[in-house]
Symmetry: C2
Subunit: 244 residues, 2 copies
Amino acid sequence: MNLENAIDTLRSQEETIIGVLIERAQLTTNQGAYRREQSEEGLHSSLLEQWLFQHERIEALFGRFLSPEEKSFHAPLPDPMLEVTVRPPSPELVGPENVNLSGEIRDRYLQLVPKICPNGDGQRYDLSIERDVIALKAISRRIHFGALYVAELKYREDPDTFDRAAREAAESGDRSGLERMVTRADVESELVERVRIKAGQLQEHTDGRIRRLVDPDEIAEFYEKTIVRLTKEGEILYLFNRPR
Amino acid sequence: MNLENAIDTLRSQEETIIGVLIERAQLTTNQGAYRREQSEEGLHSSLLEQWLFQHERIEALFGRFLSPEEKSFHAPLPDPMLEVTVRPPSPELVGPENVNLSGEIRDRYLQLVPKICPNGDGQRYDLSIERDVIALKAISRRIHFGALYVAELKYREDPDTFDRAAREAAESGDRSGLERMVTRADVESELVERVRIKAGQLQEHTDGRIRRLVDPDEIAEFYEKTIVRLTKEGEILYLFNRPR
Protein backbone atom coordinates (compact mmCIF):
# COMPACT_ATOMS: atom_id res chain seq x y z
CA MET A 1 0.00 0.00 0.00
CA ASN A 2 1.26 3.47 -0.83
CA LEU A 3 -0.13 6.86 0.14
CA GLU A 4 -2.20 7.05 -3.03
CA ASN A 5 -3.88 3.63 -2.45
CA ALA A 6 -4.56 4.52 1.16
CA ILE A 7 -6.27 7.75 0.13
CA ASP A 8 -8.30 5.88 -2.50
CA THR A 9 -9.45 3.48 0.23
CA LEU A 10 -10.60 6.42 2.34
CA ARG A 11 -12.35 7.92 -0.67
CA SER A 12 -14.17 4.68 -1.44
CA GLN A 13 -15.61 4.79 2.08
CA GLU A 14 -17.31 8.15 1.51
CA GLU A 15 -20.33 6.59 -0.18
CA THR A 16 -20.49 4.00 2.61
CA ILE A 17 -20.57 6.61 5.36
CA ILE A 18 -22.99 8.93 3.56
CA GLY A 19 -25.21 5.87 3.00
CA VAL A 20 -25.26 4.77 6.64
CA LEU A 21 -26.10 8.28 7.81
CA ILE A 22 -28.99 8.52 5.33
CA GLU A 23 -30.22 5.11 6.54
CA ARG A 24 -30.11 6.21 10.18
CA ALA A 25 -32.06 9.35 9.28
CA GLN A 26 -35.01 7.25 8.09
CA LEU A 27 -35.81 6.52 11.76
CA THR A 28 -36.67 8.83 14.63
CA THR A 29 -34.03 9.99 17.11
CA ASN A 30 -35.08 7.39 19.73
CA GLN A 31 -33.15 9.18 22.46
CA GLY A 32 -34.30 6.59 25.00
CA ALA A 33 -31.78 4.16 23.54
CA TYR A 34 -28.95 6.52 24.47
CA ARG A 35 -30.06 7.33 28.01
CA ARG A 36 -27.92 6.15 30.90
CA GLU A 37 -30.25 5.27 33.74
CA GLN A 38 -29.33 6.29 37.27
CA SER A 39 -30.15 3.70 39.91
CA GLU A 40 -28.99 3.03 43.45
CA GLU A 41 -26.17 0.91 42.09
CA GLY A 42 -24.86 3.76 39.96
CA LEU A 43 -25.11 4.83 36.35
CA HIS A 44 -26.17 2.07 33.97
CA SER A 45 -24.95 1.83 30.41
CA SER A 46 -27.38 2.95 27.75
CA LEU A 47 -29.15 0.38 25.59
CA LEU A 48 -26.87 1.30 22.68
CA GLU A 49 -23.80 0.73 24.85
CA GLN A 50 -25.06 -2.62 26.10
CA TRP A 51 -25.90 -3.76 22.59
CA LEU A 52 -22.56 -2.56 21.18
CA PHE A 53 -20.65 -4.26 24.00
CA GLN A 54 -22.38 -7.58 23.37
CA HIS A 55 -21.69 -7.32 19.65
CA GLU A 56 -18.05 -6.47 20.21
CA ARG A 57 -17.69 -9.47 22.51
CA ILE A 58 -18.80 -11.71 19.67
CA GLU A 59 -16.73 -9.96 17.08
CA ALA A 60 -13.69 -10.27 19.33
CA LEU A 61 -14.25 -14.04 19.44
CA PHE A 62 -14.24 -14.02 15.65
CA GLY A 63 -10.99 -12.04 15.55
CA ARG A 64 -12.21 -8.68 14.30
CA PHE A 65 -9.90 -6.70 16.56
CA LEU A 66 -6.78 -8.37 15.22
CA SER A 67 -6.94 -5.79 12.41
CA PRO A 68 -5.24 -2.63 13.66
CA GLU A 69 -7.85 -0.21 12.32
CA GLU A 70 -10.68 -2.03 14.12
CA LYS A 71 -10.90 -0.31 17.49
CA SER A 72 -13.47 -1.36 20.01
CA PHE A 73 -15.74 0.98 21.94
CA HIS A 74 -15.55 -1.32 24.96
CA ALA A 75 -12.90 -3.19 26.93
CA PRO A 76 -11.91 -5.73 28.05
CA LEU A 77 -12.99 -8.12 25.31
CA PRO A 78 -12.33 -11.84 25.03
CA ASP A 79 -9.56 -13.37 22.93
CA PRO A 80 -10.43 -14.92 19.56
CA MET A 81 -11.90 -18.40 19.91
CA LEU A 82 -10.95 -19.44 16.41
CA GLU A 83 -7.56 -19.76 14.93
CA VAL A 84 -7.78 -16.61 12.91
CA THR A 85 -4.99 -15.56 10.63
CA VAL A 86 -5.09 -11.89 9.90
CA ARG A 87 -2.52 -10.40 7.61
CA PRO A 88 -2.81 -6.66 7.99
CA PRO A 89 -1.71 -4.85 4.84
CA SER A 90 1.82 -3.52 4.71
CA PRO A 91 3.35 -1.18 5.76
CA GLU A 92 3.58 -2.61 9.23
CA LEU A 93 2.36 -0.15 11.81
CA VAL A 94 4.44 0.72 14.85
CA GLY A 95 2.37 1.19 17.99
CA PRO A 96 -1.17 1.29 16.53
CA GLU A 97 -2.48 0.58 20.05
CA ASN A 98 -1.58 4.15 21.02
CA VAL A 99 -4.52 5.48 19.02
CA ASN A 100 -8.13 4.88 20.04
CA LEU A 101 -10.61 7.65 19.41
CA SER A 102 -13.72 5.51 19.90
CA GLY A 103 -15.12 7.48 22.83
CA GLU A 104 -14.95 10.77 20.96
CA ILE A 105 -16.36 9.20 17.81
CA ARG A 106 -19.38 7.92 19.76
CA ASP A 107 -20.00 11.26 21.47
CA ARG A 108 -19.85 13.24 18.25
CA TYR A 109 -22.00 10.75 16.38
CA LEU A 110 -24.65 11.00 19.09
CA GLN A 111 -24.61 14.78 18.66
CA LEU A 112 -25.23 14.33 14.95
CA VAL A 113 -28.28 12.06 15.36
CA PRO A 114 -30.76 14.82 16.35
CA LYS A 115 -29.50 16.98 13.47
CA ILE A 116 -30.35 14.44 10.78
CA CYS A 117 -33.18 12.32 12.26
CA PRO A 118 -36.80 13.35 12.80
CA ASN A 119 -37.37 14.07 16.47
CA GLY A 120 -39.38 11.36 18.17
CA ASP A 121 -39.39 8.08 19.97
CA GLY A 122 -40.51 5.35 17.58
CA GLN A 123 -40.03 2.57 20.14
CA ARG A 124 -38.35 0.12 17.77
CA TYR A 125 -35.00 0.75 19.44
CA ASP A 126 -33.57 -2.41 17.89
CA LEU A 127 -33.89 -0.89 14.42
CA SER A 128 -32.22 2.41 15.26
CA ILE A 129 -29.51 0.76 17.38
CA GLU A 130 -28.75 -1.61 14.51
CA ARG A 131 -28.14 1.40 12.26
CA ASP A 132 -26.18 3.23 14.96
CA VAL A 133 -23.84 0.28 15.27
CA ILE A 134 -23.37 0.05 11.49
CA ALA A 135 -22.69 3.79 11.33
CA LEU A 136 -20.31 3.84 14.30
CA LYS A 137 -18.29 0.98 12.89
CA ALA A 138 -18.05 2.52 9.43
CA ILE A 139 -17.01 5.91 10.83
CA SER A 140 -14.54 4.47 13.31
CA ARG A 141 -12.97 2.24 10.67
CA ARG A 142 -12.52 5.24 8.34
CA ILE A 143 -10.98 7.42 11.01
CA HIS A 144 -8.62 4.80 12.40
CA PHE A 145 -7.56 3.50 9.01
CA GLY A 146 -6.64 7.05 8.03
CA ALA A 147 -5.00 7.88 11.34
CA LEU A 148 -2.79 4.80 11.29
CA TYR A 149 -1.93 4.01 7.69
CA VAL A 150 -1.82 7.52 6.28
CA ALA A 151 0.38 8.63 9.18
CA GLU A 152 2.72 5.67 8.79
CA LEU A 153 3.02 6.22 5.05
CA LYS A 154 3.74 9.91 5.53
CA TYR A 155 6.32 9.00 8.18
CA ARG A 156 8.11 6.65 5.83
CA GLU A 157 8.53 9.40 3.28
CA ASP A 158 10.65 11.42 5.69
CA PRO A 159 11.33 9.64 9.00
CA ASP A 160 14.05 12.00 10.25
CA THR A 161 11.89 15.10 10.01
CA PHE A 162 8.95 13.37 11.72
CA ASP A 163 11.19 12.02 14.50
CA ARG A 164 12.58 15.49 15.08
CA ALA A 165 9.08 17.04 15.18
CA ALA A 166 7.89 14.37 17.62
CA ARG A 167 10.91 14.96 19.88
CA GLU A 168 10.32 18.70 19.84
CA ALA A 169 6.65 18.18 20.64
CA ALA A 170 7.57 15.92 23.56
CA GLU A 171 10.02 18.51 24.91
CA SER A 172 7.88 21.61 24.44
CA GLY A 173 4.45 20.04 25.05
CA ASP A 174 3.36 21.71 21.82
CA ARG A 175 2.23 19.42 19.02
CA SER A 176 1.45 22.15 16.50
CA GLY A 177 4.61 21.37 14.51
CA LEU A 178 3.41 17.81 13.99
CA GLU A 179 -0.05 19.11 13.18
CA ARG A 180 1.32 21.37 10.45
CA MET A 181 3.21 18.44 8.98
CA VAL A 182 0.09 16.28 8.59
CA THR A 183 -2.25 19.07 7.50
CA ARG A 184 -3.06 19.49 3.84
CA ALA A 185 -5.67 22.22 3.90
CA ASP A 186 -6.39 22.08 0.16
CA VAL A 187 -6.92 18.31 0.24
CA GLU A 188 -9.22 18.63 3.25
CA SER A 189 -11.45 21.28 1.77
CA GLU A 190 -11.61 19.41 -1.52
CA LEU A 191 -12.67 16.27 0.36
CA VAL A 192 -15.43 18.09 2.26
CA GLU A 193 -16.78 19.62 -0.96
CA ARG A 194 -16.74 16.23 -2.65
CA VAL A 195 -18.71 14.70 0.21
CA ARG A 196 -21.27 17.51 0.04
CA ILE A 197 -21.74 16.90 -3.68
CA LYS A 198 -21.94 13.12 -3.28
CA ALA A 199 -24.52 13.45 -0.49
CA GLY A 200 -26.67 15.47 -2.85
CA GLN A 201 -26.15 13.16 -5.81
CA LEU A 202 -27.00 10.04 -3.84
CA GLN A 203 -30.36 11.58 -2.97
CA GLU A 204 -31.19 13.47 -6.14
CA HIS A 205 -33.72 10.93 -7.36
CA THR A 206 -35.13 10.10 -3.92
CA ASP A 207 -38.86 10.54 -3.50
CA GLY A 208 -39.03 12.82 -0.48
CA ARG A 209 -42.61 11.75 0.18
CA ILE A 210 -41.57 8.25 1.24
CA ARG A 211 -37.94 8.66 2.24
CA ARG A 212 -36.42 11.33 4.41
CA LEU A 213 -33.81 13.50 2.72
CA VAL A 214 -30.72 14.52 4.66
CA ASP A 215 -29.24 17.98 4.16
CA PRO A 216 -25.87 17.49 2.39
CA ASP A 217 -24.47 20.37 4.47
CA GLU A 218 -25.03 18.39 7.69
CA ILE A 219 -23.12 15.45 6.28
CA ALA A 220 -20.34 17.67 4.96
CA GLU A 221 -20.06 19.42 8.32
CA PHE A 222 -19.86 16.10 10.15
CA TYR A 223 -17.18 14.97 7.74
CA GLU A 224 -15.20 18.15 8.28
CA LYS A 225 -15.55 18.56 12.04
CA THR A 226 -15.53 14.92 13.07
CA ILE A 227 -14.10 12.61 10.45
CA VAL A 228 -11.35 14.77 8.98
CA ARG A 229 -10.61 16.37 12.34
CA LEU A 230 -10.37 13.15 14.34
CA THR A 231 -8.37 11.44 11.60
CA LYS A 232 -5.83 14.24 11.90
CA GLU A 233 -5.82 14.04 15.69
CA GLY A 234 -5.24 10.31 15.34
CA GLU A 235 -2.34 10.87 12.94
CA ILE A 236 -0.73 13.27 15.40
CA LEU A 237 -1.22 10.82 18.27
CA TYR A 238 0.27 8.02 16.23
CA LEU A 239 3.32 10.02 15.15
CA PHE A 240 3.85 11.48 18.61
CA ASN A 241 3.84 8.05 20.23
CA ARG A 242 5.61 6.15 17.47
CA PRO A 243 8.64 4.55 19.17
CA ARG A 244 11.91 6.12 18.05
CA MET B 1 -51.57 1.28 8.37
CA ASN B 2 -53.41 0.80 5.12
CA LEU B 3 -52.34 -0.95 1.93
CA GLU B 4 -50.96 2.26 0.48
CA ASN B 5 -48.75 2.98 3.54
CA ALA B 6 -47.54 -0.59 3.60
CA ILE B 7 -46.51 -0.38 -0.05
CA ASP B 8 -44.76 2.96 0.59
CA THR B 9 -42.80 1.26 3.40
CA LEU B 10 -41.71 -1.46 1.01
CA ARG B 11 -40.75 1.15 -1.55
CA SER B 12 -38.70 3.11 0.94
CA GLN B 13 -36.65 -0.04 1.55
CA GLU B 14 -35.56 -0.30 -2.10
CA GLU B 15 -32.72 2.19 -1.66
CA THR B 16 -31.69 0.38 1.53
CA ILE B 17 -31.45 -2.99 -0.18
CA ILE B 18 -29.74 -1.68 -3.31
CA GLY B 19 -27.29 0.08 -0.99
CA VAL B 20 -26.41 -3.00 1.07
CA LEU B 21 -25.85 -5.07 -2.07
CA ILE B 22 -23.54 -2.41 -3.52
CA GLU B 23 -21.64 -2.36 -0.21
CA ARG B 24 -21.23 -6.13 -0.21
CA ALA B 25 -19.93 -5.98 -3.78
CA GLN B 26 -16.99 -3.82 -2.67
CA LEU B 27 -15.44 -6.93 -1.10
CA THR B 28 -14.36 -10.23 -2.64
CA THR B 29 -16.63 -13.27 -2.55
CA ASN B 30 -14.77 -14.81 0.43
CA GLN B 31 -16.40 -18.18 -0.13
CA GLY B 32 -14.45 -19.63 2.81
CA ALA B 33 -16.85 -17.86 5.15
CA TYR B 34 -19.75 -19.85 3.69
CA ARG B 35 -18.12 -23.27 3.72
CA ARG B 36 -19.51 -25.93 6.02
CA GLU B 37 -16.59 -28.01 7.24
CA GLN B 38 -16.97 -31.75 7.43
CA SER B 39 -15.32 -33.35 10.45
CA GLU B 40 -15.68 -36.63 12.33
CA GLU B 41 -18.42 -35.07 14.45
CA GLY B 42 -20.46 -34.15 11.40
CA LEU B 43 -21.06 -31.05 9.32
CA HIS B 44 -20.09 -27.81 11.05
CA SER B 45 -21.89 -24.54 10.51
CA SER B 46 -20.17 -22.06 8.26
CA LEU B 47 -18.51 -19.00 9.76
CA LEU B 48 -21.39 -16.85 8.50
CA GLU B 49 -23.91 -19.15 10.19
CA GLN B 50 -22.00 -19.13 13.48
CA TRP B 51 -21.69 -15.35 13.42
CA LEU B 52 -25.33 -14.84 12.53
CA PHE B 53 -26.46 -17.24 15.27
CA GLN B 54 -24.43 -15.40 17.90
CA HIS B 55 -25.82 -12.07 16.73
CA GLU B 56 -29.37 -13.35 16.78
CA ARG B 57 -28.89 -14.64 20.31
CA ILE B 58 -28.04 -11.13 21.44
CA GLU B 59 -30.78 -9.50 19.43
CA ALA B 60 -33.27 -11.95 20.91
CA LEU B 61 -32.18 -10.82 24.39
CA PHE B 62 -32.92 -7.26 23.33
CA GLY B 63 -36.36 -8.22 22.04
CA ARG B 64 -35.85 -7.89 18.29
CA PHE B 65 -37.96 -10.94 17.47
CA LEU B 66 -41.02 -9.60 19.24
CA SER B 67 -41.73 -7.74 16.00
CA PRO B 68 -43.58 -10.10 13.68
CA GLU B 69 -41.61 -9.21 10.55
CA GLU B 70 -38.29 -9.98 12.26
CA LYS B 71 -37.69 -13.64 11.54
CA SER B 72 -34.57 -15.36 12.74
CA PHE B 73 -32.31 -17.57 10.65
CA HIS B 74 -31.64 -19.75 13.71
CA ALA B 75 -33.58 -21.40 16.51
CA PRO B 76 -34.01 -21.80 19.39
CA LEU B 77 -33.13 -18.35 20.68
CA PRO B 78 -33.32 -17.03 24.25
CA ASP B 79 -36.18 -14.97 25.62
CA PRO B 80 -35.75 -11.20 25.96
CA MET B 81 -33.77 -10.25 29.08
CA LEU B 82 -35.20 -6.78 29.24
CA GLU B 83 -38.75 -5.76 29.76
CA VAL B 84 -39.34 -4.78 26.20
CA THR B 85 -42.61 -3.33 25.08
CA VAL B 86 -43.16 -3.76 21.40
CA ARG B 87 -46.29 -2.42 19.82
CA PRO B 88 -46.47 -3.88 16.35
CA PRO B 89 -48.35 -1.60 13.99
CA SER B 90 -51.99 -2.36 13.35
CA PRO B 91 -53.60 -4.26 11.73
CA GLU B 92 -52.98 -7.12 14.07
CA LEU B 93 -51.64 -10.16 12.23
CA VAL B 94 -53.24 -13.57 12.65
CA GLY B 95 -50.70 -16.38 12.70
CA PRO B 96 -47.54 -14.55 11.55
CA GLU B 97 -45.51 -17.46 12.96
CA ASN B 98 -46.70 -19.59 10.03
CA VAL B 99 -44.39 -17.73 7.68
CA ASN B 100 -40.61 -18.01 7.87
CA LEU B 101 -38.69 -17.92 4.63
CA SER B 102 -35.28 -17.31 6.21
CA GLY B 103 -33.65 -20.48 4.90
CA GLU B 104 -34.60 -19.76 1.31
CA ILE B 105 -33.59 -16.11 1.65
CA ARG B 106 -30.13 -17.14 2.84
CA ASP B 107 -29.67 -19.70 0.06
CA ARG B 108 -30.67 -17.28 -2.67
CA TYR B 109 -28.58 -14.47 -1.24
CA LEU B 110 -25.54 -16.75 -1.22
CA GLN B 111 -26.18 -17.51 -4.89
CA LEU B 112 -26.19 -13.77 -5.62
CA VAL B 113 -22.84 -13.05 -3.93
CA PRO B 114 -20.62 -14.49 -6.71
CA LYS B 115 -22.68 -12.61 -9.30
CA ILE B 116 -21.99 -9.18 -7.82
CA CYS B 117 -18.69 -9.55 -5.95
CA PRO B 118 -15.20 -9.86 -7.43
CA ASN B 119 -14.06 -13.45 -7.19
CA GLY B 120 -11.43 -13.96 -4.52
CA ASP B 121 -10.63 -14.65 -0.93
CA GLY B 122 -9.62 -11.43 0.77
CA GLN B 123 -9.23 -13.06 4.18
CA ARG B 124 -10.96 -10.29 6.13
CA TYR B 125 -14.01 -12.52 6.64
CA ASP B 126 -15.24 -10.28 9.45
CA LEU B 127 -15.79 -7.44 6.98
CA SER B 128 -17.71 -9.47 4.42
CA ILE B 129 -19.73 -11.32 7.06
CA GLU B 130 -20.69 -8.00 8.63
CA ARG B 131 -22.11 -6.90 5.27
CA ASP B 132 -23.76 -10.26 4.66
CA VAL B 133 -25.58 -9.95 7.97
CA ILE B 134 -26.70 -6.39 7.21
CA ALA B 135 -27.90 -7.48 3.77
CA LEU B 136 -29.69 -10.61 4.99
CA LYS B 137 -31.51 -8.68 7.67
CA ALA B 138 -32.61 -5.93 5.29
CA ILE B 139 -33.80 -8.43 2.68
CA SER B 140 -35.57 -10.67 5.19
CA ARG B 141 -37.29 -7.70 6.84
CA ARG B 142 -38.53 -6.49 3.46
CA ILE B 143 -39.85 -9.89 2.41
CA HIS B 144 -41.54 -10.73 5.70
CA PHE B 145 -43.02 -7.27 6.18
CA GLY B 146 -44.58 -7.56 2.74
CA ALA B 147 -45.67 -11.15 3.17
CA LEU B 148 -47.42 -10.47 6.48
CA TYR B 149 -48.84 -6.97 6.38
CA VAL B 150 -49.66 -6.70 2.71
CA ALA B 151 -51.41 -10.09 2.88
CA GLU B 152 -53.36 -9.13 5.99
CA LEU B 153 -54.42 -5.81 4.48
CA LYS B 154 -55.52 -7.48 1.26
CA TYR B 155 -57.40 -10.06 3.33
CA ARG B 156 -59.27 -7.39 5.24
CA GLU B 157 -60.54 -5.86 2.01
CA ASP B 158 -62.42 -9.05 1.18
CA PRO B 159 -62.21 -11.72 3.90
CA ASP B 160 -64.94 -13.99 2.52
CA THR B 161 -63.34 -14.42 -0.86
CA PHE B 162 -59.92 -15.10 0.68
CA ASP B 163 -61.37 -17.61 3.15
CA ARG B 164 -63.10 -19.40 0.31
CA ALA B 165 -59.90 -19.50 -1.78
CA ALA B 166 -57.91 -20.82 1.20
CA ARG B 167 -60.52 -23.53 1.84
CA GLU B 168 -60.47 -24.56 -1.80
CA ALA B 169 -56.68 -24.66 -1.78
CA ALA B 170 -56.72 -26.86 1.33
CA GLU B 171 -59.19 -29.25 -0.29
CA SER B 172 -57.62 -29.44 -3.72
CA GLY B 173 -53.97 -29.07 -2.72
CA ASP B 174 -53.72 -26.39 -5.38
CA ARG B 175 -52.83 -22.90 -4.22
CA SER B 176 -52.92 -21.26 -7.63
CA GLY B 177 -56.25 -19.56 -6.87
CA LEU B 178 -54.69 -17.84 -3.88
CA GLU B 179 -51.67 -17.01 -5.97
CA ARG B 180 -53.81 -15.31 -8.61
CA MET B 181 -55.53 -13.27 -5.91
CA VAL B 182 -52.27 -11.83 -4.57
CA THR B 183 -50.58 -11.34 -7.93
CA ARG B 184 -50.53 -7.91 -9.52
CA ALA B 185 -48.33 -8.42 -12.55
CA ASP B 186 -48.33 -4.76 -13.59
CA VAL B 187 -47.28 -3.61 -10.10
CA GLU B 188 -44.53 -6.23 -9.99
CA SER B 189 -42.98 -5.34 -13.33
CA GLU B 190 -43.20 -1.65 -12.50
CA LEU B 191 -41.39 -2.33 -9.22
CA VAL B 192 -38.60 -4.29 -10.89
CA GLU B 193 -38.09 -1.55 -13.47
CA ARG B 194 -37.98 1.08 -10.75
CA VAL B 195 -35.32 -0.88 -8.88
CA ARG B 196 -33.24 -1.22 -12.05
CA ILE B 197 -33.39 2.53 -12.58
CA LYS B 198 -32.61 3.34 -8.95
CA ALA B 199 -29.64 0.96 -8.95
CA GLY B 200 -28.25 2.86 -11.93
CA GLN B 201 -28.99 6.29 -10.47
CA LEU B 202 -27.38 5.49 -7.14
CA GLN B 203 -24.14 4.67 -8.96
CA GLU B 204 -24.20 7.18 -11.79
CA HIS B 205 -21.61 9.46 -10.19
CA THR B 206 -19.49 6.67 -8.72
CA ASP B 207 -15.83 6.65 -9.71
CA GLY B 208 -15.42 3.12 -11.04
CA ARG B 209 -11.67 3.34 -10.51
CA ILE B 210 -12.00 3.25 -6.73
CA ARG B 211 -15.42 1.66 -6.16
CA ARG B 212 -16.84 -1.40 -7.81
CA LEU B 213 -19.98 -0.82 -9.84
CA VAL B 214 -22.78 -3.38 -9.70
CA ASP B 215 -24.79 -4.16 -12.82
CA PRO B 216 -28.33 -2.81 -12.23
CA ASP B 217 -29.68 -5.84 -14.10
CA GLU B 218 -28.27 -8.19 -11.43
CA ILE B 219 -29.99 -6.22 -8.70
CA ALA B 220 -33.25 -6.03 -10.65
CA GLU B 221 -33.14 -9.76 -11.32
CA PHE B 222 -32.55 -10.51 -7.64
CA TYR B 223 -35.45 -8.26 -6.76
CA GLU B 224 -37.70 -10.02 -9.23
CA LYS B 225 -36.70 -13.63 -8.64
CA THR B 226 -36.05 -13.50 -4.91
CA ILE B 227 -37.61 -10.51 -3.20
CA VAL B 228 -40.86 -10.16 -5.15
CA ARG B 229 -41.19 -13.93 -5.58
CA LEU B 230 -40.60 -14.85 -1.94
CA THR B 231 -42.83 -12.03 -0.72
CA LYS B 232 -45.62 -13.51 -2.81
CA GLU B 233 -44.90 -17.03 -1.56
CA GLY B 234 -45.03 -15.64 1.97
CA GLU B 235 -48.38 -13.95 1.30
CA ILE B 236 -49.81 -17.22 0.03
CA LEU B 237 -48.45 -19.11 3.05
CA TYR B 238 -49.90 -16.52 5.38
CA LEU B 239 -53.33 -16.53 3.77
CA PHE B 240 -53.42 -20.30 3.45
CA ASN B 241 -52.63 -20.79 7.13
CA ARG B 242 -54.62 -17.86 8.48
CA PRO B 243 -57.01 -19.38 11.04
CA ARG B 244 -60.62 -19.25 9.85
